[in-house]
Symmetry: C2
Subunit: 347 residues, 2 copies
């Protein structure tokens, strides 16, 4: 794999590794902070354990936290570092929030090569810059060999909500008649990880920040009722969660769910239902019927959104919430909340 | 050990354990969220992956993130769950911020008993309630057996800064003449962990939230120039960090540094310098000379602050920053930034 970096991974020999001393608050940790983190993260408030930021007036903010334990840490189209930025940026974007500040924590396993850490730190900095979020504070812990798995990254973020408070998207805003849209073809991230694990030709993950896509909807007067990035558990989990919260019956047309032929092929071989497979750059939107076509057109102007499509609607109220799909015969089959392991360590 | 809990640890058999399915976004994870997390954390916005909060007007806020990998996870006077609340609350308090919102992420190792997880979740809820911080959002990941160590907890927090922006404490506010105070006797947390690891009679950790102590200073018109909780690396690391940032020479009187006789005894046996040992409920303050006595008196009214004392001062500018201690002979010895491992996995 080749990476084009603003700053090359230099300054460490291949034998330089993370030691327990890097986590113990003394000289080694100070050196790691000043020589690696503070240089890679220009907005880091490295002199304190907390960062401060100003708010200029009243408003609504969003916050989120996510751990990343993906295995392998490099995959086609991304890596644990870029994923850790996109995951949190996207959780904020799903509440209609523009990303502002990111906190980053590393749990490092003793023995991790410092070159590899530096590479991930640089990739993290690049992903944050691209998503327009500032890395302001962090933390580093080291666990003994055998008590971790190289590197786990945890990010938490703060964003400012674009829309008026009464319009903040969420499952409770969903109502009968809403159209359901997916922002692009599904299942790429999960199948990318599985192709890497199984030794197939690697398929590209969809991992990407969604904030610009979301912003463009608000800029063009679309206020989605609810948005959810379809990560672990895939589109099926998202639809079931929302159906349960709002106690509605959701019906989708499986034929309309956009999938790539190559992704579909691998899923069939490995026995996965793509509706259950994780995405890291795709989201599900619930919009008013009259906004549906316009929403799809806006999404389709973005990279990753070319195949955005209306896939179903909220058909009626339902005692516990349910999701079904229309079959070609005109009958309905249930789309269940995924159960069991599905795809472990996908993010 | 006995715990008096608002809610007992029931509903799980001893053989019920965390499985990979609990981390995969499907039915098992939903059940964990609805049956355990949402019940324990009353402010959890469990329906979305991000939480929203309102800000009523202009102001300065603080944010922080910390991972907790302490071993053992239960120690006298605390546990990984309470520590994960105190650590983040204290990082915020050190910037003069009142804690508002907490995000919590769990990295669970496959096989962790669900009873144990529930106990820690309840202890986390109790510590958050006591510190006055609301748990608003979270994340759960599961890693395979042998890739973690039972449980790692990561918290990030948001707080609102008490004081005027120009008075926000930080290392750059320190100046020659400032008095240096510790808020209580030092070294308790590190020695508590070591006593547990070595099989000694357990000594009590100082783990505690510091926000009320800090608030009382501001309420009584004390604006500390700089505050820092003396966690990993202890008081010696804090003093050296600040001396380096501000390029000053700090001199302390080691005789004035408050220590408990039992703590001191264990440190001597194990060969630790208590200035290098972690605290989790003690902080170092830099204040104007005229505020020093009043500050100590306020701190002494708090549990854990009984032995608060002035331990030194900022004596002059210095090219690179240095810390020394006066000896009984009237000479000076260097207090260095701790080097090497010190105490691994102390928090």
């Amino acid at each position: 794999m080749t990476y084009s970096l603003e700053c090359p991974v230099t300054g460490y020999k291949e034998t330089d590794v993370v030691t327990m001393a890097h986590g113990s608050g003394g000289e080694s940790m100070q050196k790691l902070i000043s020589e690696m983190f503070a240089k890679a993260f220009p907005d880091l408030q490295a002199e304190d354990d907390a960062a401060t930021f100003d708010v200029s007036g009243p408003g609504q903010f969003a916050t989120s936290i996510d751990s990343f334990v993906v295995d392998p840490i490099f995959f086609k189209g991304g890596n644990i570092a870029s994923l850790s930025v996109h995951g949190t940026v996207n959780d904020l974007a799903m509440k209609g929030a523009m990303p502002l500040y990111l906190n980053v924590a590393f749990i490092l396993e003793e023995g991790l090569p410092l070159r590899r850490l530096k590479l991930l730190v640089l990739l993290l900095a690049r992903a944050a810059k691209k998503a327009g979020i500032k890395i302001v504070t962090g933390d580093t812990k080291v666990v003994p060999k055998g008590k971790g798995d190289g590197i786990y990254i945890i990010t938490s973020g703060i964003g400012v909500v674009f829309c008026e408070k009464s319009l903040t998207p969420g499952p409770k805003k969903v109502s009968v008649g809403d159209k359901i849209i997916v922002s692009g073809d599904i299942g790429r991230h999960g199948m990318s990880i599985m192709s890497a694990r199984e030794g197939f030709d690697p398929l590209r993950s969809d991992s990407a920040p969604l904030n610009e896509m979301v912003k463009s909807l608000y800029d063009r007067d679309i206020n989605p009722k609810c948005m959810r990035d379809a990560t672990r558990g895939g589109v099926a989990a998202v639809l079931n969660e929302i159906a349960r919260v709002k106690k509605v019956h959701i019906r989708i047309d499986e034929e309309k769910v956009p999938v790539d032929e190559e992704i579909k092929g691998l899923a069939e071989i490995l026995g996965y239902d793509l509706l259950h497979v994780a995405n890291e750059g795709r989201f599900v939107l619930f919009v008013k019927p009259e906004d549906a076509e316009k929403t799809v057109k806006i999404l389709q102007t973005f990279k990753g959104g070319e195949q955005a499509a209306i896939i179903g609607e909220v058909v009626k109220e339902h005692k516990t919430g349910s999701v079904t799909a229309e079959t070609l015969l005109g009958t309905e089959k249930p789309i269940l909340m995924p159960a069991g392991e599905i795809l472990p360590r996908i993010c």
